[in-house]
Symmetry: C2
Subunit: 476 residues, 2 copies
C-alpha cells in the first residue's frame, strides 16, 4: 500500500528532491503511550475493572450460547472424503483434518503419525488501539468460541480468516476489519506473522496486528475499550483473555527500554546461533498423509482417538445461540486429554530478568523449531520414569517462588477444553547456576521480546507467557 512509505507525489510548488523525508526508525511516542496505559489498572474510559465480569456475563446472557458433542454423522457439510479419510467441508473452505507423518533424526521417536488440522489461509488477529482521554485503550471483543470451557472470552478486535474478511463465505462483513486490511488502516504498532500450535496445526500462521487510529470508532455492544493496565489485570484471571488476544499482546513493542536492557547472560549473536543450531542439526521429513489408517489411531462414530488413550481426540460439536445475530453451525474440534502445564523458569542475573527457553521441535511449525517455554506438556501423558525436563521443578515449586499462575485455554475455534496452567516460577540460585542442557538457554526478557517481534521464532505458548510476564513486571 502507498501508506507504507511516506513518499508523496510532488506537488506544483515542491521541488522533487525535497519531497521524501526521513524520520526516526522507532516510535518513542508509542512507547510512552503504552507506558502510561499500563499504569491505568482500575478504571478505563468505558468501565471499571471491577465491572468487567458483569459486562462479560451480560454479553453471555444476551447471546445464550450452547455447544454439545455430536456424532460425526451429524456434522452438516463435513465428510470423510474417500479414499484419504480426510475430514473436509464440502465448500472446500474452513479447514481439513488430515494425517501428518514426521520422520526425524532428533528425539526419542524417529517416526510418528497423527491427525493434524490444515488451514492454509493466513488470518488476521488485530487489536485496534486509540488514545481516549490521553490514555491508550484497546478495543476488545466478547467472543464465543465453541471449544472454550466457558465459551465467551475476550478476543482481539478482529479475528478473521481471509475467507471471512474478503467475503468468500458470504457471511456478515467482519466488524472493524477496515482498520487492518482496508482503506482506513491506521498507524501500525505491530504487524508480524506468528505460528500457532505446532502439535495440532500444519504450518499454520496468522498475521498479528496492533493498529492505532484517531477516528471516531462506532461502538458495538460486544466490544469494550480497555487500558493495557486493565488487560494485565484480566490476564491474571482464569479463562478470560483468549489465546488470540494473548499472542497479539505479546507483539507489543517492549516497555523495557531502561539501560539494563543492554545486558544479558548471552550475547544476541550467540542466542540467534543457538536457535540456528537447533534448526539445522537434525534432519526431518514432514508430510501430510491420509487421515485414514494412521497407526495407533482409530475412528468411532464420535471420535478419532488413540488406542492407548494418550494425547488427544478429534471430535464434533453443534453450536447454537439464543440471539438472532449469531447463526448455528457444526464443526470438528481437537480435544486434548488432561490439563497442560506451561511454564517459564525465571531468574534475575545481575538484576536483569531472564527466562529459561527451550529450543523445541514441533512437527507442524512452519520452521519446525521455535523457542518454547521451559516446560510445555500434559503431565498425564508421561509415566513416572519419563518425566519432561524441569516439570518436577515447576510443579514442586513452593508458593513463594510462583510469580504468576492462571489457567488459559488455547484457540477455542479449533480446540475443545484445551486448557493449561500457565506458570512463571523463580528458579533458585543453584538451578540458575547450573549450565542448562544444550536445548535450553537463559535469555533476557528483552531478548525474548526482540525474537517475538521478528516473528516465527517464539511459539504461541511462550508468547502467552511473555504477555503474562509483562502483566506482572515491575513498573519501569
Amino acid at each position: 500500500m502507498d501508506s507504507t512509505v511516506r513518499n508523496r507525489a510532488p506537488g506544483p510548488t515542491d521541488p522533487p528532491q525535497t519531497v521524501a523525508r526521513t524520520g526516526p526508525r522507532w516510535d518513542r511516542r508509542a512507547t510512552e503511550l503504552l507506558a502510561r496505559s499500563v499504569q491505568v489498572t482500575d478504571r478505563g474510559a468505558q468501565l471499571a475493572t471491577a465491572e468487567f465480569a458483569d459486562w462479560l456475563a451480560e454479553r453471555r446472557r444476551e447471546h445464550d450460547f450452547g455447544v454439545r458433542r455430536i456424532d460425526f454423522a451429524d456434522l452438516k457439510g463435513w465428510n470423510f472424503l474417500r479414499p484419504t479419510g480426510n475430514l473436509t467441508h464440502q465448500s472446500g473452505r474452513f479447514f481439513t483434518v488430515e494425517g501428518l507423518r514426521v520422520r526425524t533424526s532428533a528425539g526419542f521417536f524417529p517416526e510418528w503419525r497423527q491427525p493434524i488440522i490444515r488451514q492454509p489461509e493466513v488470518g488476521i488477529l488485530g487489536i485496534l488501539v486509540k488514545e481516549i482521554d490521553g490514555v491508550l485503550h484497546f478495543l476488545m471483543q466478547a467472543k464465543m468460541e465453541p471449544g472454550n470451557p466457558n465459551l465467551l472470552q475476550l478476543s482481539p478486535t478482529v479475528q478473521a480468516t481471509r475467507s471471512n474478511y474478503t467475503g468468500v463465505h458470504r457471511g456478515a462483513p467482519v466488524r472493524y476489519v477496515e482498520y487492518f486490511a482496508g482503506s482506513r488502516r491506521g498507524r501500525v504498532l505491530a504487524d508480524v506473522l506468528q505460528s500457532e500450535h505446532g502439535s495440532w496445526f500444519y504450518r499454520k500462521h496468522n498475521r498479528n496486528m496492533i493498529v492505532e487510529t484517531s477516528d471516531d470508532v462506532p461502538p458495538h455492544p460486544d466490544f469494550c475499550w480497555l487500558t493495557l493496565g486493565q488487560l494485565h489485570e484480566l490476564l491474571s484471571r482464569d479463562n478470560t483473555v483468549n489465546m488470540d488476544s494473548r499472542t497479539v499482546l505479546s507483539c507489543l513493542p517492549s516497555l523495557m527500554e531502561q539501560p539494563d536492557s543492554r545486558l544479558a547472560l548471552t550475547p544476541d549473536a550467540e542466542v540467534l546461533s543457538w536457535l540456528t543450531e537447533h534448526r539445522s542439526t537434525h534432519d526431518w521429513t514432514i508430510e501430510t498423509v491420509p487421515l485414514a489408517g494412521l497407526p495407533g489411531w482409530h475412528r468411532t462414530e464420535r471420535e478419532i482417538t488413540r488406542e492407548d488413550g494418550r494425547f488427544f481426540d478429534v471430535v464434533a460439536v453443534a453450536v447454537e445461540a439464543g440471539s438472532r445475530e449469531v447463526p448455528s453451525w457444526t464443526q470438528p474440534l481437537i480435544e486434548p486429554h488432561g490439563e497442560g502445564v506451561t511454564a517459564f523458569l525465571v531468574h534475575e542475573f545481575d538484576g536483569v530478568p531472564h527466562v529459561l527457553v527451550h529450543a523445541r521441535m514441533e512437527g507442524g511449525l512452519p520452521l519446525v523449531v521455535e523457542m518454547a517455554p521451559t516446560v510445555q506438556c500434559v503431565p498425564a501423558n508421561y509415566s513416572e520414569d519419563k518425566r519432561p525436563r524441569y516439570m518436577d521443578e515447576v510443579l514442586a515449586a513452593p508458593p513463594a517462588r510462583v510469580r504468576y499462575s492462571a489457567v488459559h485455554a488455547e484457540e477455542g475455534g479449533r480446540f475443545r477444553n484445551a486448557v493449561s496452567r500457565y506458570l512463571l516460577v523463580e528458579a533458585d540460585d543453584t538451578l540458575a547456576a547450573e549450565p542448562p542442557p544444550p536445548e535450553y538457554a537463559w535469555l533476557s526478557v528483552r531478548q525474548l521480546e526482540r525474537l517475538t517481534s521478528a516473528g516465527l521464532s517464539v511459539n504461541v505458548q511462550a508468547r502467552t507467557l511473555l504477555a503474562c510476564l509483562r502483566s506482572v513486571a515491575r513498573p519501569v
Copy 2:
C-alpha cells in the same frame, strides 16, 4: 551446546549466585575489528591484492579441472525413477530433480509447473576469521564448482552439506569444519539461516556462519587469508567471489553505526508490516509433483527443456581433475537461458542511503515472499510489451549513475553458467520522489542489513547486492 551460554558450573569457592554474569548484548570489539579490516585493501598478511589473480591461476593449474556436457544416460549412479520420472541418485543422497506446482491468487500466472531441485539438508556455509597482525583476516578457499563459467572461484572456508561433514558420504573429512560444527568452535559473529534461489530450489536454506578463532590454524595451499578490504576489492571483479561467499559476507554485522543509521524514510514497524502484508495477502498452494509430464516441458537425451525455449534446462555434466586430490564425478545441473540483470535502485534521502526493495514471490522460498532486488530477471525471457518494472530504468542508466557493476555466477554446484550482471544504479530525484508501486518500498541500507541478520527475509540476490553495496560504501 554449553558454549552458547556463559554459565559455568560453580567451583568450590564460588557461591552459586555469583557464577553467571551478564555482559553486553552486542559486540563492539567485532565492529571495530571489521572497520579496521575494511580499510586494508592493498595487502593482507598472506598476499597483496595484486598477487591474487596469480594465486588463483596457480590453484587452477595445480588441479587442471575439466567439465563437459554429457547425455543423461552417461550419468553414473543417477536415474530417472519410475513412475515419477524424478532424477535421483541411487544412494538417496545429494539432491533430486522433481517437479513443482504453484497455484496462486497473485500475479499474472494463477498456476504453473516447472522442474525444481530438492535438497532437504541444511548445509553450513562458514567463513573462519582471525586477527593476524592486528587485522581481521577471512580464510577463503579456491574451490572448483562445475557450473561456474571459469570453474574456480573464491568460496567460504567451509561449504558442506550435513552428509559431507558428518561423513555419511565416506569422503574425505571437510577441512576446518570443526571450527563451525565441532569442539573447536570459536566466537560467533553471525549464524543465521538464509534461503537460496527460490526459482530453482524447493525450500532450500543454509546456515550462514562467521566464526572468529584465536587458534593456530593449519595452512592449506587451496586456502588464503584475506582482509575484508581485499574481499571488497575482489567483489568488483567478474566471476571471482562465489555466491556462497557473497551470502555469508552479507550476514556480517553492520559497519554503519553512525547516528544517521537511526533515520529512514519508513519506520521499522512499517517496513516489517509491508513484508507481512505481502506474505499474507495472497493464497498459494505449492507442492512437489512428478518431474515426468510437466506441461510445456519435455525430456531429450541431453536435456529437460521448454518447448518455447524460455527459462532454463536441466542438463548433465562429467567433472574430471588432473590432480590426484580431487575425484571425478557426474551430476545434473540447471542451466538458465541468458544472462540475468540483478539491480538495486539506490538513492540518498536526507543523506541516508536507501535501496528500492521488491517484495517478491518465488515458489521455492521457505516463506514464499522475501525482499528482493528492484530488478531481478533474465531480459531475454520478456517480450517488448511485458518488461519487468524498473528494468528499462536500470538498463538505460547513464554510466555516471552506475555505482557498481560486475558479473557474478550463482551456486556453481547446482547451476551451470547462471550469470547475472549485478548493478547498483542511482535513481534520479524524479524517480525517487514518486511513490513506488505497492510491492516496492524504499528501505535504508541499515534496515536491509537488519532484516538480513534476522534470516529468511532477504533473498540471495539481494544479499549479494548488499555485500557489493558495502564494498563500495564510503568509509564510516
